[in-house]
Amino acid sequence: MSLKGFGWLKWSALAAMVAVGGTLAHATTGSMSIRVGLQSVPPDEVYTAKDWGARYKLKVEHGSFSSGADILKAFIAGRVDIGNGGSGRLVTMAAQQPELFYIVAANQYGGDRYGVMVAKDSPIKTVQELKGKKVGAVTGSGTYSTFRVYLDNNGLKESDFQIVNMKVEDLRAAVQQGIIDGAVAWEPHVAIAETMGVVRRIQSMAGVNDSPNFVLVNRKFADANPEAVARYIATLIDLGELISSNPQEAAKLAAGQISKKGVSINPKALELSFTRIKMDPKVTDALLAELIPVAESMKGASKIGAVPDFKKLVRMDFYEQAVKLRQASR
């Protein structure tokens, strides 16, 4: 069949192709934006210090929050499109509002970012030697849960110690002043205190578990803006690569960013801290599996009704797309 006499059809088809092509081109190369909730933690400081989205034509609007809980509040309220949170809060959200979000990436993780510290001059060299003594910790935190697993693995019990619940920022001074004999804390607090020369880390929680934080994206946003999510994850891969391969440079960036708030920090402390944090955003089965015991424990405490199916919440396609984007932008 000839198209003669159907010139209008030819031109319409051409116009439609241009329109579709333009839209696709915009989707892959055009600029887009995303609102991200960040905390005052070193990896987020590195993220804030540099325009990581520029490489992917992504405008990242940073929202600064004082805690992970505040990020998730803002996330639920729709004030940020992307946030990250520890396992406890993630399990609660997965049990109560699974339709709200996807898990699209892992954030910082690794047992080495948790450690037990004692005063510099303390004769104590092992966790065993802390038996019967006062140990400061933020009970209810991921760090403390990991510490409990460590105790189980090593034939110890919580009741072997006098656990003192404290704010993480206060642990260093309490150890230093002898108010407590040891403390379980997370990075960068351990590294900062070590670099100040006032404490010794006697035990890392490396190998106990990874206690991952995950990156959550609002479902509606992800469904409407899949390219923006992929680009954002590409920036996270870049960030993780810098922190792993060049912690010194990452520490400089973070220290510079922190100094903009009027706070002075030794970059060496941040560098040490970065060597203890894993930052690969790929969500693995092993990382997801760590949510199960947390969920079971919360179910046992009647905090949630049932253990959520976390795999159903994971969207790996964004990560895969992000990997392709990185390769394409090289």
Binding site: G63, S64, K261, G262, V263, S264
Partner: protein, 285 residues
């Protein structure tokens, strides 16, 4: 309380230069503070306190100088933090005054309205303003709106109650006398109500500003996104930068003191002290 009052030296009408008694009063006021600073410095220098927990005053001054960045004042982080905090506290205070003072006059003059609203005010008054922060955070999120809203509540009640008390303290006879002389509502307000209520009102303003300033720190710690002295202290605590924490605390104390002495001291001198000493305002009951 002003320096001269603190020292028990009578207030004198002074020109632009400080009189000897004012200098003596200032020295007397500063002496205990100086002694405390010297003792503190000595305690740290002689190793009786750990500088990583309690930095010496000299270390705090050095850190403050770094943050002040006098060579490039336009890039002074400390000034930015102070400016933002002052702006928030003053905005909240001014808003509180704009609402509380007229409302205070209405409630002070109208017994019926006072009775109707009194239970509500009594219920809200004991609530610390900071307790509202989580509610404001949920409603407005982090940022100036929440901080100013919480500080507004901190300043509102002291100003309102003082205004009510000031107005209620004015005797009805004084009002009748002025009215019988043909004074209109504006004259009544200008010549009787305002001067009569002013001593209590200024006390309320002082308390309101002090509450606003105190509430600000806690609100900024919880709700500030970037700047402010409370935010700076909170951020410094997160990274164990104790000297910067102390810089923030010292700034809060000094600015609080200056607000009370310079702003309210001047206001008091220009109004209450002058009017009462000139006999324009006397016992009105």
């Amino acid at each position: 309380m002003t320096a001269s009052r603190t020292a028990g030296v009578p207030r004198q009408k002074g020109g632009p230069s400080a009189s000897p008694s004012q200098i003596v009063a200032f020295v007397t006021f500063m002496l205990p503070i100086g002694a405390l600073l010297l003792f503190w410095e000595g305690v740290v220098r002689f190793g009786l306190a750990d500088a990583t927990i309690l930095p010496a005053p000299s270390m705090i001054v050095v850190r403050a100088w770094e943050l002040l960045n006098p060579a490039k004042a336009e890039r002074s982080l400390l000034l930015v933090h102070i400016g933002v905090s002052l702006w928030r506290a003053l905005a909240a205070f001014v808003l509180a005054c704009l609402v509380a003072i007229p409302l205070g006059f209405v409630l002070g003059l109208s017994t019926g309205t006072y009775r109707a609203l009194s239970p509500l005010l009594s219920l809200l008054l004991p609530l610390p303003a900071v307790a509202w922060t989580p509610i404001f955070l949920v409603a407005f999120g982090q940022g100036d709106l929440t901080i100013i809203g919480v500080c507004f509540l901190g300043a509102f009640f002291p100003v309102l109650y003082s205004t009510i008390q000031g107005v209620r303290g004015i005797g009805v006879h004084a009002i009748w006398v002025v009215q019988s002389m043909g004074a209109g509502p504006l004259d009544l307000f200008r010549r009787v109500l305002l001067p009569g209520a002013l001593p209590a009102l200024i006390s309320g303003l002082k308390l309101g500003m002090a509450h606003s300033w105190r509430t600000l720190v806690a609100a900024e710690m919880l709700a500030a996104l970037s700047y402010g002295l409370g935010y700076m202290i909170f951020a410094a605590r997160s990274y164990m930068d104790v000297s910067t924490m102390f810089v923030g605390i010292v700034c809060l104390a000094v600015i609080g003191l200056l607000i009370e002495h310079v702003i309210f001291g001047t206001l008091e001198k220009m109004t209450v002290a002058r009017w009462h000493s000139s006999g324009k305002v006397r016992g009105t009951r």
